[in-house]
Symmetry: D2
Subunit: 289 residues, 4 copies
């Protein structure tokens, strides 16, 4: 087993043309690297090519900065956007929650046991700390940012300040029940994951379980997606469903939905943190684990 | 094992009030019947009560007509709509199909091996018999009823004539790709099941797999529902989904969707024929097997 | 909506014969009760009949003890074992855990938010309290009962003492990794639920995820069952699975399995507490919600 | 969209070492080929590396034989077993069936509509042609090879003769209910797919649905695997499950299982024919579509 400290994740997106895989893999081979995982996708519709590679350095001293600098030349030839980073490096994540804390509690648990490695740099809620009296935040800074219609602008400015000052790289709306304004959504574009409690595009907007009950669907679902200014229209990362029946009241759907929401959000977050999700216009390429 | 020839299915829907189960079960007991299966649902929202019972006659000679007549008095007391019919009695079913024949072929197969007992009284298509050259219709009358915008009224009149003259009790749109007019939909209300190739209410209307591909969903589905004049809005009977990925083209979705469509339609049809589906306003009560 | 304080759950198991439903429902009607839910199962193999009914008292003053006493006469006529208890009454539950605390943390969370109503009367572990430093036990007595091969008898005696002295009605092995002796298993018969981390009967015994990896299965699962002296052979209450692939290492299976285990155990526990599970020889009748 | 006539599938398995991807992709680039799909798997346990690539020839005249000859030198350097073949080339497949023909009918349907491209070179059954009176074999040679204990050796010799003389590349046991002898299993090693009607390793051997019913499992499944002389122990290609309940009789399981069996077998067959399945000891690497 190779030293995880010396493993790197390379992702790349560019217009498709022959020779990309050869170029990348030859570069890695020549720099003493061994490919451990590789996934690629050739989108014949958009003509774009997407690649994710995990490699380790088996020979020599190829440092991260040197690798990046030298790879930039290859990437430029392919007009490629790319990223190379240590697999063991933890991303800085800000969690936002409201009264229902099942996703928050679940993510904290997965973080604590090391299932989802990340640096939790803050928890924001429009509810006070005592709402989560039974949750051990373990020293993670908590920010109580209450909000009313009149104070939404100020509150979102505070959220943005927390995001910046904590040097967060990702915001996770863990059942945060306030709709982000276009302005904040734009600032967080590609850096903010939401969990919507329906199988989108069905039941957008408020009270999706009540909508699902009213329509009489036979399965309910949840959708994790990147937040955009267009509500519930952001690129979908992951979805899942469970079977229900005519016997289920809206409250039953809320209860059964919690299990779906938390596993869908946890998967989406983990994949984002492992560079398994690449934006492709209004859609995503997801190299699942 | 009791004689299936002497098994009956009773369904009942009425305003809820105490004593319904006692009334029905005491009636059956006093008429020498034994309850084999029973399901009920008390809809606390609408205040309506739904019941399905399978029973057999263990003593005496309780004939179907006598049972019905005598039960009518009970039912009247509860302001109940009810049905009693022999479990072994086959319903008369008319199938409608278009060019894609995967649902048609599947239903024919299930009918042939006795999995879905029914009397197939006709097959209607807007395509000619040779479209299905490889399918053995086994003597079931085939009606080629081509249609254009200009002839839709006449064609639907012919469909209705076939339905009536074959004494069909149910029409199944087995990927019949013509939208029924409001007029025909109204005539077939509660007697016509359609399979829509999306997980409704997502992706109504035409080319749902292309819509699903464009939106980038991570699961695709199919929905069997009763046809109403409001397109793709009829009461849902059954739904199911399968996981897809960014790699799947619209053609891949069409291919993967066929498996979902045929099993969803087959289940909905079987349940309808077994009196497991009861309309509840714009929704259904489904006593699954 | 009826007053939940006045709702009762009746379960009944007896040899099948005509008139049971009529007898029970007439009894309830005559005692001013209204049936809210009813499920029944007629096992044609064993000739046994199973029933679960939720009812409320809409007229008069039918107290629980009076109802039980009077119903006993009906039950005796059917040679039926039965139970009537208030739906709102919480059962007393003892949790047992080992080092992996995902099921423990999950059940505590569901209990705290009221999703699984129960009285948690104790938590037993063979690991010390600090193993669960981040979990808020909220005053539930914790019993550290370490165990070695040499002290197993004594430790199990202590477990049994805790069970008795806390007046627990159910023990839940929430990934408690010690095999219960035949003696303790016998004492807890029908009152002890275990979660096994495989889709039984595949991969009994130790390290099921490693077995699954070695066999190369394409789905992994978990099984909640009543504990019997025959290891991993007890009556199954609930099972579920997730898809895996050749890429998944045993560690990946352990990680993915945690999600399956916790939801399977939570469902089984909730159903047991709602009297939805009735033993039928070496199998269960489960009236799912 | 590239010309499918000029698309090729390359698969490769070898001991892992740095430079394989670089070697292969550079070879393809230098021969005027563009990679359309690529999947790889680095088995850290066995130290083996597996790769599947779909590419097309965008420049020049690289013929198949020339490509193979030149690639052989690369492959030798990596001690790799490899295959290159035209994606559009159909494999020659022999189907074997017994009385239950749901898998046979299903595969014939998928073949007819072009969903599973293959050359069906024969159908073998131990039952006569009239068993499948309603199935259109469309000119595929049918071989009625009845079998008794006494004639098993002769019958298997005939099967082998049919396999050879039809130049079949794959045998598919589409619910063929005779256990192959070790001798025939050995001859067909890696070239014979079976569908077993249980979720292996649970319920090996005869009557798995009856075993499942007796054990009281809550999900049933099916398993497609390569046939080996060790019954029901061959490398698993695909599995799937469906939920059942205490209400389901063994006959219900048989009925519900048919749907699982046919979709699991169809997927396994399609993936085999697309070179998506590579043997890895007693397991498989499956690059799913």
């Amino acid at each position: 087993m190779s030293n995880p400290e010396l493993q790197f994740i390379l992702t790349l997106a560019c217009p498709n043309r022959p020779g990309i895989v050869a170029g990348v893999s030859t570069f890695l081979f020549q720099h003493g690297c061994n490919i451990l995982e590789a996934q690629q996708f050739d989108d014949t519709e958009s003509g774009r090519f997407f690649m994710r590679t995990v490699f380790n350095v088996v020979e020599g001293e190829a440092g991260l900065e040197a690798l990046k600098t030298e790879f930039a030349a290859i990437a430029e030839g392919f007009k490629a956007a790319f990223s190379i980073r240590p697999k063991a490096e933890k991303r800085r994540v800000l969690l936002l929650a409201s009264k229902s804390d099942h996703c928050l509690a679940d993510l904290l648990y997965r973080w604590r046991i090391g299932e989802i490695p990340m640096d939790l740099v803050g928890i924001v809620s429009n509810h006070p700390r005592e709402t989560y009296a039974h949750l051990d935040f373990d020293g993670i800074p908590f920010h109580h940012l209450p909000v009313t219609k009149a104070t939404k602008l100020e509150q979102e400015t505070e959220i943005w300040d927390v995001f910046k000052s904590s040097r967060a790289e990702l915001a996770v709306l863990a059942r945060y029940m306030q709709v982000l304004s276009d302005g904040l959504a734009a600032k967080l574009a590609g850096r903010c994951i939401n969990i919507h409690h329906s199988f989108l595009p069905g039941f957008k907007g408020a009270k999706p379980y009540h909508q699902a009950h009213a329509r009489g669907v036979k399965l309910i679902g949840a959708t994790a997606h990147y937040v955009t200014s267009d509500l519930d229209e952001g690129p979908i990362i992951e979805q899942d469903v469970e079977r229900i029946s005519h016997q289920d009241s809206p409250d039953d759907l809320v209860r059964k939905g919690r299990d779906i929401e938390r596993r869908v959000l946890a998967r989406a977050l983990a994949w984002h943190l492992q560079d398994r999700v690449i934006l492709n216009g209004s859609k995503t390429v997801v190299f699942r684990d």
